[in-house]
């Protein structure tokens, strides 16, 4: 089948959207860009294809119903668990390869044991992390494994009397290698099959037989997906191994993507990892005006990343924590690098963590408001896209401020909006061939 793919190579995450001839979105993929860009593009494409396999699988089953929804959910979850375990095993193996470094000579054995212990415990937790209904702290292996490692590692290091700094160092070295491996199709197929078996075991009174499901998945996996046209966009677009005509500016892609999702959109705000853009589009999705931060990444998504690192929690946890605030601490500096210091400062002054977090979120949104006002204000309808749109504390502030300053405008915030740029890209890809 023909497929059209848009890849948005962002500064922190890389997203892909895969659509078919009828512009139906079959799959989406996301990965961490914090590694090799080519790899990130490959991985996210692979992820989008996985998503597409899910869609195709469902089509193959040709049936609707709660049980099928369940099955697919479980399949997804189990597939992620499979992935996680595979990567964890890889990480464990990779890290043992680094123990020969002369720096660790005197501690090699103890270090190896301690690391094994940490990975073993993380492995145990994996089932919980991917348990039904569990809140996942991040979508990325690096983040989840990293934060678990920090938490468990210090304790283990103490017990085993090895230096935690050393353990951390081995981890840091290994994670890059692990991240840079692209799962091949056969691995993915194997993981999917394994996940299917686990999933079927878990869903009660499924009205498809295991065999039928298996056949359907097989078929879905066998469908040839031809990369008919690919469009790349985003911060890293110049690094994509694509010819020039396959590359679009992220401004155009975000404008078009938002238009495709919400045809009535006139103003788009995108807060990404290191840039914040305010875009005005006309009724056809054409960009009329835009503003973005230049040179300074203050108040962008990475800001939250630094805060999360500083507090040693997952990105997904920040929003919910900030929602528990009773007041909003006033934060003036949104320099990303100083974020940690600002947080510490405020904590030292005796302010509550939740209140500070609420203040930090407000600061980000205020900065976005200023970019929006420079881009010509907020018009009806207003669409908020980018990774930060997933953060409820940020969206709450945004809704409030938009309402206060621009009155009643329809505000579109979609959990999937991180894919807006990629969607715009895929739409461009489709147009390039089909128009």
């Amino acid at each position: 089948m023909k497929t059209f793919i848009g890849i948005d190579l962002g500064s922190t995450t890389t997203k892909a959207v895969l659509m078919d001839e009828n512009r139906e979105i079959l799959g989406k993929g996301i990965t961490n860009s914090r590694s090799n860009y080519d790899v990130a593009a490959e991985v996210t494409k692979q992820e989008a294809k996985v998503g597409a396999r899910f869609s195709l699988f469902r089509k193959q089953l040709g049936e609707d119903g709660d049980d099928i929804d369940h099955l697919l959910e479980d399949l997804e979850r189990n597939f992620r668990l499979e992935q996680f375990l595979t990567e964890l095993a890889d990480l464990r193996e990779t890290s043992s390869g680094f123990l020969d470094n002369p720096r660790f000579a005197d501690q090699k054995k103890a270090l190896g044991e301690a690391l094994d212990e940490v990975f073993r415990r993380i492995g145990e937790e994996a089932i919980e992390i991917y348990a039904p209904g569990a809140e996942r702290k991040s979508d990325f292996f690096r983040d989840i494994a990293g934060s678990r490692f920090m938490n468990i590692g210090e304790a283990v290091a103490k017990e085993a009397s090895v230096e935690f700094d050393h353990m951390l160092n081995v981890y840091d070295k290994s994670i890059i290698d692990v991240e840079n491996r692209i799962p091949d199709d056969s691995t993915v197929s194997r993981q999917l099959m394994a996940a299917l078996h686990r999933a079927i075991a878990a869903v009660d009174d499924l009205h498809v037989s295991e065999k039928d499901a298996e056949t359907a998945l097989r078929k879905a996996l066998d469908i040839e997906m031809e990369e008919t046209y690919l469009v790349g966009t985003g911060y890293g677009r110049v690094r994509l191994p694509f010819p020039k005509e396959h590359i679009r500016s992220e401004i155009l892609c975000h404008g078009l993507g938002a238009h495709v999702m919400y045809p009535e959109t006139r103003t788009v705000l995108d807060i990404g990892g290191q840039d914040t853009k305010g875009i005005q589009v006309d009724p056809a999705g054409i960009v009329e005006n835009f503003q973005m931060n230049d040179r300074c990444a203050a108040g962008c998504g990475r800001y939250l990343g630094y805060i999360a690192d500083e507090m040693n929690v997952g990105l997904h946890e920040l929003g919910p924590m900030a929602m528990k605030a009773t007041k909003t601490t006033r934060i003036n500096s949104t320099c990303t690098v100083f974020a940690g210091a600002e947080l510490r400062d405020r904590l030292a002054l005796g302010e509550r963590r939740e209140d500070i977090l609420a203040g930090l979120h407000r600061a980000i949104i205020l900065r976005a408001m200023s970019i929006l006002s420079r881009a010509g204000g907020v018009k009806d309808q207003f669409t908020f896209t980018g990774g930060v749109a997933k953060n409820e504390a940020a969206t709450k502030e945004l809704r409030k401020l938009v309402q206060e300053n621009y009155g009643d405008v329809t505000i579109n915030i979609n959990p999937e909006s991180i894919y807006t740029g990629a969607l715009g890209g895929a739409t461009f890809a489709h147009r390039a061939v089909m128009n």
Partner: protein
């Protein structure tokens, strides 16, 4: 305003003439001491070139030096030098380039050192920074400094009080100081003669600028425009040379119109005219060529710009230097310079240019250095958009500080803008944005 930047490719007689004029002027300046000529430093907006000529003095314009250094990519280092010596990174880079140039020996483009000025003629017109700039230069040169304070046209008109104030300063402050510095007695008939010359050249200049109303426009009134305004804005207004230059130029433009040709660019004739723009704000000098290329590569011609009015507005309300009212007309000239006009007037001017030149829209090049131009431009942009219904775009660069020219950013913005204009023209119909 520089001769060299576009010399190589196609040399029309007017270009050669201008090159020669500028070279001669620098030679005159750098050998002023040997020739026994006194020099005056002064600014472009509100410059009193005819008056300076009355005292047989040569005219040195620090802004032009900064531009020259910007185009030769020397300004970056000079600015850093000035910042190191205690000047803030926040202030106008012309000032810092000038101060940095002094610390590097004050070398003129012809390779010889500039003489220290014999007098600083501070025409405080349209920009606050001028005042501080000359206070700073005075610290350096310790030479006589005379200030001509030109009040701001805050309500869009020249009041008698303003005019009297300026004329009185000319009579009681400026002229006596120049007499003393030069040892030459002021002769008002000489001034009248020069003003008559000015008016002649000004007629031709306006004709050239307005030729952009043709389609295709035979000239580019921003990138090309900075060359066209060179003589009249600098050391040549009032001279025979200037008259001749503008006659040559006019003839060339007449020929281009007859041949249906577009403007000349550094890479030859411009091909197809796709977009007609009005531009507000000075250009960036450190990447002047690259900046220009982003326009002509896309088929964009600037049909009118406000920058070509900084040293005098001759088209909008038809001002000409007037030999019959010499001092009053100098006062009106100073009062009427573009940045000395209030924002509503600037908006009106730009909106009228868009209409009269049938432009597709307005582009603002906002300059970090220059509050005089930049403070308020965002509001101006919206007002002009509203009045004309034409789209506007906003880019941010700097004059001579290479650190503030981000080519990728500017290009990104221009490309989107051109696409937008395209779409508007098509009536926003099809959605093929790529």
């Amino acid at each position: 305003m520089s001769a060299e930047a576009k010399s190589e490719v196609i040399k029309e007689p007017s270009m050669l003439k201008q090159k020669e004029m500028i070279a001669n002027n620098y030679d005159k300046l750098t050998s002023a001491h040997e020739l026994g000529i006194k020099t005056a430093s002064t600014f472009v907006p509100g410059n009193l070139n005819e008056l300076i000529m009355c005292f047989d003095m040569a005219n040195n314009l620090p802004e032009i030096n900064a531009i020259q250094n910007g185009m030769r990519k020397k300004s970056g280092g000079m600015i850093m030098d000035a910042e190191r010596s205690g000047h803030s990174e926040d202030v106008c880079t012309y000032v810092k380039a000038d101060i940095g140039m002094m610390s590097k020996g004050n070398i003129a483009p012809n390779g010889k050192p500039m003489p220290a000025p014999d007098v600083l003629l501070l025409s405080y017109t349209g920009c606050f920074t001028f005042m501080k700039w000359f206070e700073l230069l005075r610290e350096e040169y310790k030479c006589p400094t005379t200030m001509l304070h030109v009040p701001y046209e805050a309500d869009g008109k020249i009041t008698p009080n303003m005019r009297d104030y300026v004329v009185k300063q000319l009579k009681e402050e400026v002229i006596p100081t120049l007499e003393q510095a030069s040892g030459v007695k002021f002769d008002i008939d000489r001034l009248r003669e020069y003003l008559r010359n000015s008016a002649k050249a000004e007629d031709d200049l306006v004709w050239v600028l307005e030729s952009a109303k043709n389609k295709p426009s035979p000239v580019d009134c921003y990138f090309g425009g900075v060359y066209y305004i060179g003589p009249i804005f600098t050391a040549f207004r009032g001279t025979e040379d200037a008259i001749e230059y503008y006659q040559l130029l006019r003839k060339e433009v007449e020929e281009r119109i007859a041949a249906g040709k577009g403007p000349i660019t550094p890479e030859g004739e411009m091909k197809e005219e796709k977009y007609r723009l009005v531009v507000e704000g000075p250009p960036n000098w450190t990447s002047f060529r690259d900046f220009w290329k982003m326009f002509y590569d896309e088929g964009a011609v600037v049909v009118s710009s406000s920058y070509t009015k900084v040293g005098g507005v001759y088209d909008y309300d038809g001002f000409r230097h007037d030999p019959d009212n010499p001092l009053e007309s100098l006062a009106d000239y100073c009062l009427g310079c573009y940045t000395n006009r209030n924002l509503p007037t600037r908006v009106d001017m730009l909106a009228r240019y868009i209409e009269e030149y049938e432009a597709d829209g307005l582009l603002i090049n906002s300059i970090k250095s220059c509050n005089s131009f930049s403070a308020g431009q965002l509001m101006m942009m919206r007002e002009v958009e509203e009045r004309t219904g034409k789209p506007a775009a906003f880019i941010e660069t700097d004059l001579v500080d290479p650190r503030y020219f981000s080519a990728a950013n500017v290009k990104n913005r221009l490309e989107s803008y051109f696409q937008m204009v395209d779409q508007k023209r098509k009536g926003g119909g099809s959605a093929a944005a790529a």
